[in-house]
């Protein structure tokens, strides 16, 4: 109910996980652009993040080399993913952990639900995991295993507040950057049963007290994984608050849900990625807690989980292997491409209608969910290439966006106008005669549009383009004509 209800402000709440509908970027972005508070928050966050990141990377002399190595490590991993996954599973099992390969979200829900039933679990604490957001694990567990009466608590401060507000994270790294502290205070006051002042320190102190009880009473802890090291069978989580370490240390059961693409082959590869991840995400050299779990508690230990379960989730990822979209799987979810994206900076994350926003979201949402469901997203980009430049593993994001647009045309999914534009452009570029004729026709038919003093707007399907832009008149003579005449 929480996920589908209308929000306080009456906005459409559809399209939270990959499982829901994400169509409608244009409409949502239009509303987001009008939201000045949101726009200001996204802008401040983006600017700060870009500055911090640049400072951190500038101080890392071998950054370009690391990036290149990261790309090649990922490339090699994907080419041998079956072998590395199998190695990873064997290593975890050798230490007494359990491994489950899940084709989709449904299988994860079954596995975790049955586990919760067997353990007679009541309280589940979770630390931030995009993969479980993607499959909407919380909602589905509560709906499909309603008889267990599970209490599922997000423990990352931002995620918890989002959960309490019936909201979804709007950013991979900063989940509630769309929320003001006044709104956060309002949400937390709701659970406190008293009015909390909109003072960040007080709010955090309240969250610490309240979540402490949850940590201590949890029966199962669920985390995601930033990396999975095949060689050692290790899942790595990076957090600043310490919630992930609590979630993996206190409850008797730890379940890690990891997308199969998070695999890296060797332990020594981890230092490459650790040096890139937090610098790109927040400008830190390393997050406060970088926690590595390779199995359940050992003999004679008085804390740590008795059971460790690793769920390796496919959910459409393997379809990209060996295709022209494979590089989308190299993503380490640092969020750097969001902060530099001129589209994201205008709209914020919710406009994308997907767990993953920004340029990487515009790429992987249609790839995981299908073009039809996320038709607008490859167009939510100016193709300026800032995303690819910021990416610490060198994913050519704007190329992938273009390829997705191309694919829509090939599949006949693109609108008629887009198809004509793509095909027409292609035809004109191939034939000089057609190009010249087109240029001349443009000059002839721009007609009243080119006259000064008039509102220079194109009517019809291209109206949106000129609503916010000046349309320059077409020059009287083209460059080609001038060239022929020798100027």
């Amino acid at each position: 109910m929480r996920r589908t209800a209308q929000r306080r402000d009456g906005r459409d709440r559809r399209g939270v996980g990959i499982e829901s509908k994400v169509e409608g970027f244009n409409e949502r972005s239009r509303r987001a652009i009008e939201d000045e508070a949101l726009h200001a928050a996204v802008e401040v966050h983006s600017k700060n993040t870009v500055n911090n990141r640049n400072r951190a990377l500038r101080a890392l002399p071998d950054a370009p080399e690391l990036r290149e190595r990261a790309y090649h490590i990922k490339q090699e991993t994907m080419a041998n993913l079956d072998r590395y996954l199998s190695q990873m599973a064997e290593a975890v099992e050798a230490r007494g952990g359990n491994v489950f390969f899940a084709r989709d979200g449904e299988e994860v829900v079954r596995y975790v639900g049955d586990l919760a039933r067997r353990r007679e679990a009541r309280v589940i604490t979770k630390s931030k995991s995009m993969a479980t957001e993607e499959i909407e694990l919380n909602r589905r567990l509560q709906e499909e295993y309603a008889d267990l009466g599970l209490k599922i608590v997000e423990t990352d401060l931002g995620e918890w507040i989002a959960q309490l507000a019936g909201d979804t994270p709007s950013h991979i790294v900063a989940p509630i950057l769309h929320m003001s502290r006044h709104r956060a205070a309002e949400v937390l006051s709701g659970v406190a049963g008293e009015k909390l002042p909109p003072n960040v320190e007080d709010l955090v102190a309240f969250a610490r007290r309240r979540l402490r009880e949850k940590f201590l009473s949890a029966d199962i802890g669920i985390t995601g994984a930033n990396f999975g090291v095949a060689e050692t069978g290790t899942i790595v989580t990076a957090t600043n608050e310490g919630n992930s370490r609590l979630v993996t240390s206190v409850p008797p059961v730890h379940v890690a849900v990891m997308g199969i693409e998070k695999t890296i082959p060797r332990l020594k590869d981890l230092s490459v990625f650790l040096r890139l991840l937090s610098r790109s995400a927040t400008g830190q050299k390393i997050t406060v807690y970088t926690n590595m779990v390779s199995g359940p508690r050992g003999e004679g230990e008085a804390d740590g989980p008795e059971e460790f379960h690793l769920i390796l989730l496919d959910n459409g990822r393997s379809k990209l292997l060996g295709t022209e979209f494979e590089e989308a799987l190299y993503c380490i979810r640092c969020g750097a491409c969001l902060s530099v994206c001129p589209v994201y900076r205008q709209t914020g994350g919710h406009a994308y209608g997907s767990t993953y926003s920004g340029p990487i979201g515009a790429v992987i949402t249609p790839l995981l969910k299908g073009d039809e469901e996320a038709k607008d997203l490859p167009f939510a980009s100016s193709l300026c290439g800032a995303c690819a430049e910021a990416c610490p593993v060198g994913i050519p994001l704007q190329d992938l966006l273009l390829k997705l647009r191309r694919r829509q045309v090939d599949e006949g999914l693109a609108s008629k106008a887009q198809q004509i534009a793509f095909k027409g452009f292609e035809g004109a570029m191939r034939s000089p005669a057609a190009y010249n004729a087109g240029a001349k026709a443009g000059r002839l038919f721009q007609g009243p549009l080119s006259q000064r003093g008039l509102d220079r707007k194109i009517p019809g399907p291209l109206k949106g383009w000129t609503d916010f832009r000046e349309l320059p008149p077409i020059a009287e003579r083209s460059f080609r004509e001038l060239w022929k005449e020798g100027f």
């Binding site: 890392l60 401060l157 050992g298 494979e326 050519p396």
Partner: protein
Amino acid sequence: MADRKEFLTTIHHRTRAGRYKPTHAPDVPWTPKDEPRKEERIEAPPARFLEELEALGGQGLLAESLEEASEYILDLAREREARMLLRWDVEELERLGVDEPLREAGVEVAVWRDLEDPRQIAARADVGLSTAEWAVAETGSLILRNGKGMGRTVTLLPPTYVAVVPEERVLPAIRDVLEKYEGRLPNNLCFHTGPSRSGDIEMSLTIGVHGPGDVHVIIVRES
């Protein structure tokens, strides 16, 4: 499990599909290159460690003896008006000899062995005390491993956390630490770097969210 075989076979076929060879990216320029392209050398790891830790809001001390370390802990416990300190059950902390002075000062000392309800004690303690397997100068991180007598919650639940690390365990970089494990990690290994923090609400940095906000590391140099 039959499912697993099928799962991996599918992936195997897809990786071998070979329809596409990714480019030899990254081919776009990246990050300002005004520095020479070489890895940084860290000359004095302990000093650099303390510098990094302090930059993060942690506090550090380079102690010349175990006595100095012990005094620091005693002073800290007094300053924080601690009623209980919980420590790992390891030989280095026995040698530190801080238990008696603490008890004399009225601070209850709990040791992570044979505790009836260890979790509740960790939740009640005001100060957690541990050693670290390694420390990393590059980042100011402590490397904590799991093991008997080395409770994870000791370093997590008390609001004040102190670690005592012999000087020779401070390594220059993350890579040096990972090399020590030669492809085999303990079941839990944590890189703990400074005080717990969050910037989730309006990017306003707040210390001590779930883990300790008050972090002290004493590096001991014994002659």
